[in-house]
């Protein structure tokens, strides 16, 4: 089940990479967050970790529902462009994504026999970090960059839930708090016409 969700997580992220519409991107992000939340719930249930269950719930509520919605509202209000053509050609992206995956597995190889957990989780987290970065790289518009940043947050969470079996509650709350603050700041920043970056 866990592996299945992780696979789904990665799949949604990769799909997001190839999306060229803003709302579709938000949708994939929301799905991505949803899998993450489910993952937390599943692992939390297996470990009987209440904190993690809570985190899962908050993740689903906040990341899968609230943030995509807020972003959608913001994009409407500030008239952000809904066309988000990727800056990197698809041919390159097709090569890059597997390359990143292979690389992260190679990277995680030395730790595979050392920790009790699954080294592949670390590898997948790192690769989703890279993929989110790639998402930021390939778009010049602001909105996809924000989504990229948010999915980076997701990659962190993935690492937190899978590799460490849950971080301290305090940290997770802090991260959520900062996420909210980021949204506020983004809102403030958007108070001007969309910048071409």
């Amino acid at each position: 089940m866990v592996d299945f969700l992780i696979g789904l997580f990665l799949a949604t992220l990769i799909t997001a990479l190839f999306t060229s519409r803003l709302y579709r991107l938000l949708f994939w992000y929301s799905l991505n967050s949803l899998t993450l939340g489910l993952l937390a719930l599943v692992i939390g249930a297996r470990l009987d970790d209440r904190a993690m269950l809570m985190t899962g719930g908050v993740t689903i509520a906040l990341k899968a529902l609230a943030i995509p919605y807020v972003l959608k509202v913001l994009s409407r209000r500030f008239g952000l462009s809904r066309q988000t053509p990727p800056g990197i050609k698809t041919q390159y992206a097709i090569m890059l994504v597997p390359a990143i995956l292979v690389f992260t597995f190679y990277l995680a190889e030395p730790i595979s026999h050392m920790v009790q957990g699954n080294a592949n989780y670390v590898a997948i987290s790192i690769s989703s970090l890279f993929l989110s970065l790639l998402l930021m790289i390939e778009h010049r518009n602001v909105a996809p960059k924000i989504v990229g940043f948010l999915s980076m947050e997701n990659a962190l969470f993935l690492l937190g839930t899978t590799a460490t079996r849950g971080m301290p509650m305090l940290v997770e709350l802090g991260i959520f708090f900062d996420l909210l603050m980021a949204i506020v700041v983004i809102n403030l920043l958007l108070y001007r016409e969309e910048a071409e970056l």
Binding site: L96, P110, K145
Partner: protein, 628 residues
């Protein structure tokens, strides 16, 4: 114990005082000429004090502190008159070079003291003896001191910085400050870094020989009187280094007394150079003060208006040209003698190297004479070449007093050479050398012997007395003859002699410049207004020659060009980050993780090659992108 008063320190304190006290008078006279007087006063006295501080410092901290203070105050002193053209770049260069040297001294101290800069020199010797790479320390010291002393190839700042300073400061810097570096060499080579391999001595010798030649050659091509003198400082530092290098070589070969002799020669020349170079700079400063130009071509005939300046300058010029019976001759004689003492050496490489050093020194001597004939003749003799020179007067009493006092120092070095040599001997003995005084003056002070077997002898006092006696007799005879004298204008083949028909400094140095044109690569600027239709007839013509020193062109300019080039490319690279920051971070992360994986975990060439390929592709795709 931050301070130390052993004979060597006291000797150099003496040197500084000898150089500074006449300078005080001169400076007093010069002061009305300066706008920012308090700025000048504060830094001037701090400068002198800092020099004293350096020579009496007993540990690394004190030494470096005063050394730096010396650099800073001299830097500010040069900046006393920042409006003058060329001062700002010159000071910048000076400031940079002096800290260039400072850094190496710092490194030396860091290593030689094991990080505890407060230990004394004697303890440093113990640490140095256990250091694995003594040559490294040697190079640190050499770079540190020689950049201050202005030896080739670290000399380029000197002809810029010294002329830019107010004249009393030029005198102090050139006369005294450079000697602080020599003090450092004595202190640290003899006290801390001892003993040496043969190569070190040879290196110092070669640097000295090169400096002396390069200095005098560029002095000859110089039209700025202070730059000319500054170039001569390079030459004289070279001569001192030849003596020092010979001392090191003899010491390595176990010839103790010869080594002491060479060191004494170096010390003696250090003192001599202090005296006559200070005097020369004071003279040049007086001339500059009156004519408001440093261009030697605008002088002429100043001996009539400024007799005291002219005659004291002559004394110094004769002395720096190493003509008997002056002190300059005596020290150079000693250095020659120590070079000649090498006939007892069996080492073949030395046998081949030393004749070259002799040749360099001898050529230097010949060229120095030519150069000072030029400097003196064009400045003080003949007709005034410009209105400025025509309106010149003798300088004020304080400045005159300063020059006369410094002339007194020169004379004292000539007359009391044995006493001075006694002092040098004491200083060297205190550093554990063999005493050489008794060997130099075995039969009283009348004859000065070379300590080598079959070495030469010179009798400065007898020589002086006989020269004075013969000249006096001739003069007396001339008076007795009662010849009538008549004034008449100079005959010039029917033309009227005027300021413009005289030989110029450019012309004077012409033959030598032409002979060394492969080195000088002079840039000639000939400007001529011809009468229309007559190619050979012209109304107006000017000819100028500029020589940019080889080292400056090849070494320094190329470094500057390289820095410019690198910075241009770095800047272009840095501009990627404005638009591709995420991609930069992406690649960076990739690279760091890859490197950790490969270098920190298990290394294999295959993975390394793979990483390189991946990185190159990823950088190409993500950062550089395609041309749009």
């Amino acid at each position: 114990m931050a301070f130390l008063f052993d004979p060597l320190s006291v000797l150099f304190v003496f040197l500084i005082l000898l150089g500074a006290v006449p300078n005080l008078f001169y400076s007093r006279g010069y002061l009305p000429h300066i706008e920012r007087r308090w700025h000048y006063r504060i830094h001037y006295f701090a400068f002198i004090l800092s020099m004293l501080g350096v020579v009496v410092a007993a540990n690394g901290v004190t030494f470096l502190l005063f050394w730096e203070l010396m650099s800073l105050t001299s830097w500010q002193l040069i900046l006393t008159e920042p409006e003058e053209e060329g001062t700002i770049p010159a000071t910048r260069f000076y400031f940079f070079m002096t800290h260039f040297g400072f850094v190496f001294l710092l490194l030396f101290f860091l290593i030689a003291t094991d990080g505890d800069l407060e230990i004394g020199f004697a303890q440093m010797h113990g640490i140095v003896a256990h250091f694995a790479y003594p040559s490294l320390l040697f190079f640190f010291l050499l770079l540190g001191f020689l950049s201050k002393a202005g030896a080739v190839p670290l000399h380029v700042w000197l002809p810029y910085a010294h002329p830019a300073a107010p004249s009393p400061v030029s005198a102090l810097m050139s006369g005294v400050m450079l000697k602080i570096a020599i003090y450092g060499m004595f202190r640290f080579f003899l006290d801390v870094l001892y003993p040496w391999p043969l190569e070190w001595g040879i290196l110092v010798l070669v640097v000295g020989a090169l400096s002396s030649l390069v200095g005098v050659l560029y002095a000859l091509s110089e039209h700025d009187i202070k730059a000319l003198l500054a170039n001569h400082s390079i030459e004289n530092i070279g001569i001192i280094l030849i003596g020092f290098g010979m001392g090191m070589i003899f010491d390595t070969l176990g010839l103790g007394i010869l080594s002491s002799f060479a060191f004494i020669a170096a010390l003696f020349h250090t003192f001599n150079h202090m005296s006559f170079k200070s005097l020369l700079f004071m003279g040049a400063g007086s001339v500059l003060h009156e004519t408001h130009t440093k261009n030697i071509e605008a002088y002429g005939g100043l001996i009539k208006a400024m007799p005291i300046t002219a005659w004291t300058f002559l004394l110094a010029a004769v002395s720096i040209s190493a003509l008997p019976p002056t002190n300059g001759f005596l020290s150079e004689w000693m250095i020659f003698q120590s070079l000649l003492s090498s006939n007892t050496i069996t080492d073949m490489s030395l046998k081949l190297a030393i004749p070259f050093a002799i040749f360099a020194l001898a050529l230097t001597g010949g060229l120095a004479i030519a150069c000072f004939v030029k400097a003196y003749g064009i400045t003080f003799l003949g007709l005034q070449r410009s209105a400025n020179a025509r309106h010149a007067h003798e300088v004020n009493p304080a400045m005159r007093l300063g020059m006369l006092a410094m002339a007194g120092v020169v004379l004292s070095l000539m007359l009391f050479a044995p006493s001075y040599i006694r002092l040098f001997d004491i200083a060297l003995v205190s550093l554990g050398r063999v005493g050489a005084y008794d060997a130099i003056f075995p039969e009283g002070i009348w004859h000065m012997h070379s300590v080598a077997i079959n070495g030469g002898v010179v009798s400065p006092l007898i020589l002086l007395a006989s020269l004075l006696a013969v000249t006096g007799l001739l003069l007396y005879a001339y008076r007795a003859l009662g010849v009538k004298e008549r004034l008449h204008r100079t005959w010039a083949c029917g033309y009227r002699t005027g300021p413009r028909t005289q030989y110029s400094a450019t012309g004077f140095a012409g033959p030598i410049r032409r002979f060394f044109s492969w080195l000088y690569r002079p840039q000639e600027h000939l400007h001529r207004e011809s009468i229309p239709g007559h190619e050979s007839k012209f109304t107006d013509s000017s000819y100028e020659v500029h020589v940019r020193p080889l080292f400056e062109r090849s070494l320094y300019d190329s470094v500057a060009a390289a820095a410019n080039w690198v910075s241009y490319w770095v800047y272009r690279l840095a501009h990627f980050e404005q638009t591709r920051y995420a991609a930069m971070i992406f690649n960076l992360t990739l690279m760091v993780l890859f490197s950790y994986r490969i270098f920190a975990h298990e290394f294999s060439w295959a993975t390394f090659a793979l990483e390189s390929v991946v990185m190159v592709i990823s950088i190409k795709v993500l950062i550089i992108g395609e041309k749009e």
